[in-house]
Symmetry: C2
Subunit: 108 residues, 2 copies
């Protein structure tokens, strides 16, 4: 993890926090829309437990993805870019090295 250690300016920290919150909001809104669509179609006990299983997985995924700790934040951003929850352009206020690391990790 040593290569992940970067120096963060106050501005970069503020940008990271803002971008992070925005992506989290998008993930939550997307999940709400999916849950509402699935709920409308509920017609059996199996469908209920499928919705429950789906929520269990999504909760685990979202709580895992949105862990704002600086030592792993570039990796988190890479995952969000990969999932389409962040556009690379939203990261342009981070320095070039951080952006490069994020985009490199987002390719895997």
């Amino acid at each position: 993890m040593n290569s992940m250690v970067s120096v963060w300016t106050d501005h970069e920290l503020a940008v990271a926090r803002e971008v992070f919150e925005r992506a989290h909001g998008r993930a939550v809104q997307a999940l709400i829309a999916t849950v509402q669509r699935q709920s409308e179609q509920l017609d059996s006990v199996d469908a209920l437990w499928q919705l429950h299983d789906f929520l269990s997985i999504q909760r685990h995924r979202i709580e895992g993805n949105f862990d704002f700790r600086l030592e792993g934040i570039l990796f988190v951003f890479a995952g969000l870019v990969k999932e389409g929850l962040l556009e690379p352009a939203e990261l342009q206020d981070l320095d070039d090295e951080k952006q490069s690391k994020i985009m490199a990790m987002a390719r895997f």
Copy 2:
């Protein structure tokens, strides 16, 4: 559990199975209606996880309640009467002793 052992006629078995399925259907329909109402009001990540917790509890409750094994079925019926998922009149084809046991347990 020895006092729970009863003799079941074929007719009583058929009635028990039918009443059991009917109460299960009611529980499922009630839960679907509640989930749909809660889903419509989702507006935050906390509300999503509250819905998830609610489904976890209801799944545990329904899967526990609807365990069709004869050695415990009178106890199960008592719980369903207590929860309003079965009317005592629906049990009238069971013999008097079984009905009495169910109603006695339903009072606790």
